[in-house]
Amino acid sequence: MKINNICVLGANGTIGSQIAGLLAAFCDAKVYLVSRTMEKSIKAKELAVKSVRADAIAPLLIPKTYQDAEECIGSSDWVFESVPEDLAIKEETHRMIARYRKPGTLVSTGTSGLSIGTLASLYDDEGRSLFFGTHFFNPPYSLPFLEFVETRWSDKSVADGLFSYLENTVLRKAIHVKDRAAFLGNRIGFIFMNEVAQFADLYKDRGGIDYMDAILGPFTGRAMAPLATVDFVGIDTHKSIMEHLHACEPDFFSTECIVPDYVSRLVEDGRVGKKAGAGFFKQEYDGTGRRRSLVYDIASDSYRPYKAYALPFADRMVSLLSDGLYQKAIDVLLGDDSEEAGICRYFLVKYIICSYRSAKEVSGNIADADIAMSYGFNWVPPSSLCMLFGRRKGIERLMGNDDRIRESLKGFDMDLLDEKPGMTDIDYRRYFKASR
């Protein structure tokens, strides 16, 4: 497959501009950056160049506005839509693409969870056959994961060609997923983080947000603690992903998908995280100009300095991880009788269960959950964690001592825990950081 001209609609967004840069660089294609104003498109071009650290791609990036949409769409081999996650806006945009595209033009949406089928239905038969979901993760240059969604109308040979192109030319770690809410990666990641947010509420008298992040810090196999991740992504984004998933599939991890009240209140107040300057965390400057980091205290509805939680099991794990002793670090976690170690174990088991269930339903392959979580979230692959936990036998041992784990495994096909996913090239060790 050779793609010479690409049109990115919604190029002024953070992800849109970065994907434009990525496509110009790796596809060596001319890319139209279309936004509402020329000023925004020019800014998007700067961001695109910066995101792949390559001035050489600048001549390939052409800033345009929606006034030029007909020309840009009409002369492109691939139109990539990256407008805001609002169905009405997306539908309006795709009606326009359907009007202007020439036969044979590929169209894809970067939606993180809206129905691909609904958007495809806005096209004629020929257009539908060339319409796909291509969900990139942010930032796309350093997170190479991509979810590829076909519809019942998709032309199979074109789909295979585009998938292969995304893997080999755009250098994506791509997986096929079904057209289901939140697809695979976000489904696993956001359910996990939402339950952590629920537990922060449950344990608000012990500290809440920073207490839970201390229990599930980088030493548990992730680059950033869960609630710090939500704050970074945007609490509003988190809330809308969870609510959309819960609305579409009310029976899938139904309790875990309920957004806690304090999270909704923060969103209503506009305290949506790092991008708004306040959320679960905020930075404050004292009288001397010194910056200090504060955390939202759910119990008192105010911000306070972080607490230094004494977690001996975490300290021991960190020490072992710093010497590369991964199994021994997990053995410390499995053998520790503190309540915090119990909470940590519960969440890691839930992560495995949710990953396996999600993968079975959304992609059909457990290895895809490994790819999604490592390349999309920078989290330890769930099947590696399952192996370190001792697979079925190890997790059954935990069930015997922990009601919460036992409860969470009700109805779960335990045979899955002994299933070894197909070979991936993922080395789990890099995801365990020797830090709290």
Partner: protein, 276 residues
């Protein structure tokens, strides 16, 4: 003279940043040994057995762990991995970028002389422990630091920049052709990296145009006429390699064909570049 065979080994993933992972020399060595054992079928048990017979020696190549990691005496560090190394002769070899090559050279000599049956050769560097400016200063100690590196920002690229100047002066190929050739080499190297699942730059974008765009914000000049794309960039990495004797081959290896080392060597130039 005994024959010397290359049994095999493994390198670490050069994309990883062990400093960001908050892991040290022991972690990278342990992981690379685990992977090398997996690749070759050896284990600590065989090393321990040969140690009792005084038939194994370890050779650790490293440039400057004292500065980068605050850690010297790397030869002894293998004992942190497993008790099998207790009593095994092991020392660190240093020859700047050629550190691990001289470690291999020393290992070959020992096997050739018939002193040992297994040489455990290790190369290890953690260079992401410091920022690029300090890293550049440390790298300068591979040159004649006092005369050519001290107080200079990125001394090594600057020295290579002088080499480029001298080459252009000496050979009648012209500056443009010389610089274009460097850009072609860079483009090719990055393309090769994409085929290597353990390469540092396997996901990075680079092409001939970008490598030719020197002096831009994304490809700044770092040493005279040379830009970032003309230089190899430091990373964290380790390699474990097992060299074996004929006796070891016959006792422990089922393979019919195994690479044999027939020769090798190295030599020095003056340290001070301007006097070369």
């Amino acid at each position: 003279m005994q024959k010397v065979y290359v049994l095999g080994g493994q390198q670490s993933d050069f994309e990883r940043n062990f400093s960001k992972e908050k892991k040290g020399i022991v972690a990278i060595l342990r992981e690379t040994f685990d992977d090398a054992f997996l690749a070759t079928g050896l284990d600590y048990g065989i090393i321990g057995k040969l140690a009792k017979e005084n038939r194994v020696t370890a050779f650790v190549g490293n440039f400057d762990a004292e500065q980068y990691c605050g850690q010297g005496h790397l030869g002894s560090f293998l004992t942190e991995l497993d008790p099998a190394f207790y009593g095994v002769p092991s020392a660190r070899y240093e020859a700047a970028c050629a550190s691990s090559s001289v470690a291999i050279d020393a290992a070959i000599s020992k096997i050739r002389l018939g002193d040992i049956d297994l040489a455990v050769v290790v190369g290890v560097e953690l260079m992401k422990t410091v920022d690029s400016s300090i890293c550049g200063d440390y790298l300068g100690t591979a040159a004649y630091y006092q005369k050519e590196a001290r107080g200079k920002e990125y001394p090594f690229p600057k020295l290579f920049g002088k080499l480029a100047d001298a080459s252009i002066d000496r050979y009648p190929i012209g500056e443009e052709r010389y610089m274009n050739a460097l850009a072609r080499i860079s483009d090719k190297n990055y393309r090769n990296a994409k085929a290597n699942p353990l390469a540092q730059t396997r996901k990075w974008f680079m092409n001939y145009e970008q490598a030719s765009h020197r002096g831009t914000p994304t490809n700044s000049l770092v040493g005279g006429r040379l830009a970032i794309s003309d230089c190899s960039q430091v990373t964290d990495g380790a390699v474990v390699l097992f060299l074996v004797s004929e006796k070891f081959k016959q006792l422990y290896i089922n393979k019919e064909i195994i690479p044999e080392i027939n020769g090798g060597g190295y030599g020095l130039l003056r340290s001070c570049l301007r006097t070369r």
